[in-house]
Amino acid sequence: MPMDKKKVKLRLENISQSYVVNNEVRDAVSNVSIDVYDNEFLVILGPGHCGKSVLLNIIGGLEKPVEGNKYIDGVKFTGSDKRIGMVFQRLALMPWKTVMGNVEFGPRLAGVDKATRRKIAQKYIDLVGLKGFEKAYPHQLSGGMKQRVGIARAYANSPEILLMDEPFGQLDAQTRIVMEEEIQRIWQQEKRTIIFVTNNIEEAVYLGDRIILLSKCPARVKQIYEINLPRPRNTMDPEFLRIRREVSENTDLAL
């Protein structure tokens, strides 16, 4: 798709965040401006503790930035917005709710009647491949399955933009690969604008339409890569390896 035809879904304008720690101002995010296109899979890549979660929390409205503006479809908004959903870094499933209870939670809070929200939830439970586990509690599920629930829960609230904060960071390598394929399949089946945060270069190149590379703390946009490889990508493909090396050489090491 040529660049000029892409519609900007989310625009971040000069976002900065800083905290006062021990009477000292510390910047976490510094002057970040990003355009996110409609239905693109955008990966935000950066070293650990560089401010990725802070940036994502600002987009989601869990934190207020000290500076900067956010726009959806060209209209400014502040705080949280129901057009934005989040898959959390740490597993944030409600342990007291079943898989169904967790997935239908968003529509339930929005006052959707039971029959309708069950139907919506079931659709996304099926989509993430958890059919048959509706009545299970989170502690009965494996790490990968829990993340599937987290993805279904975010989808069930019908957001237009999905934020994912290192969703697979805690999974073992094998499960991680499976889940990377899965998130790609889910996204291709149910297109949304996804902003996916990771510190894993291979994951970034495997998943991203574009990669926004952040510097070490405070986070600044260091480089933007467009990955035009066809999906599903082959991690052994020479072009894949070349991009991976290029990104890798440009990445700051975590302190």
Binding site: G60, G61, L62, S80, D81, K82, I84, G85, M86, F88, R90, A92, M94, P95, W96, K97, F105, G106, R108, L109, A110, Y137, P138, H139, N157
Partner: protein, 270 residues
């Protein structure tokens, strides 16, 4: 390699099997030991033996005290306990939620509440007697005072320790404050609230007996006083045994209720 592994597994399995057996037998052994010690102690002394104590129980069925057998007296005590607990589980939990969720209320009430908690329930008895005389209400009130703190403290701790990430989930779903309290904070605190329910139950069971010993016409605590006044040691011992058994049963029942109401906490118990 794999042979070594299976051999190791089966030997550890065998060990687990014997351990399981052992864990089933140990409680029985301790009860038998107690009975043995008790019997030995009662030989050549006035101290009633287990058999005499048992006979006293049967005798109570034949000649009820104040028209009540042991069942009637136990029910009388349990009624007071559950009247008090019904109050505590309603207002104690509500108050715990209030001071757990609202920092201003916590700051307002915590000093008073801590002082209240430090006064033992029995110290209230003179005041309660002066105000309300001796009837069912003052007894229930003593039990309320003696067991409400456990409910409030646990509920408050559960509510003030709700993990931020659960509330963030609510924020992402545009939950309002009310929804965050009722759909996120309170459910996530349910296991802490249940700890309060369990502790308050055992506290109430202890306080009711003490309250009954200070002027009552029914209840297991009354039986103990009666036994003491009439030098009826078998009656005292029988009442003590009943107290212990009923107390243990209450603990089992509340634990069972917790598993029923909070099935997700089962994970921790196995």
């Amino acid at each position: 390699m794999s042979r070594v592994k299976t051999a190791a597994m089966s030997s550890s399995e065998r060990k687990a099997y014997y351990l399981n057996r052992l864990y089933m037998i140990l409680p029985v052994i301790s009860v038998l030991l107690l009975l043995l010690l008790w019997t030995t102690a009662s030989l050549n002394s006035d101290f009633p033996s287990p058999v005499e104590t048992w006979n006293r129980l049967i005798e109570l069925f034949e000649r009820p005290i104040k028209n009540k057998t042991i069942i009637g007296h136990t029910l009388a005590s349990l009624t007071r306990v559950f009247l008090a607990l019904a109050f505590n589980w309603t207002f104690g939990i509500a108050f715990g939620i209030l001071i757990g969720w609202n920092k201003k209320c916590r700051a307002l009430f915590t000093p008073l509440f801590n002082a209240f908690r430090a006064v033992p329930p029995l110290a209230w008895i003179p005041l309660i007697t002066m105000w309300f005389g001796i009837g069912e209400f003052p007894k229930a009130l003593t039990v309320i005072i003696g067991s409400i703190a456990a409910v409030v403290v646990n509920t408050q701790a559960g509510l003030s320790n709700v993990q931020q990430i659960y509330l963030d989930v609510g924020t992402m779903f545009n939950a309002n404050v009310r929804q965050k309290l009722f759909q996120i904070a309170i459910p996530s605190a349910l296991d802490a609230i249940f700890a309060g329910v369990r502790t308050s139950t055992s506290a109430a069971w202890m306080v009711v007996l003490a309250a009954e010993m200070l002027g009552a016409k029914s209840g297991v605590g009354f039986l103990i006083t009666r036994g003491m006044d009439s030098m009826d040691m078998p009656l005292v011992l029988m009442s003590m045994a009943v107290i212990g058994i009923v107390g243990a049963m209450l603990a089992v029942v509340t634990q069972f209720a917790e598993r029923l109401i909070c099935p997700w906490t089962r994970k921790r118990s196995n």
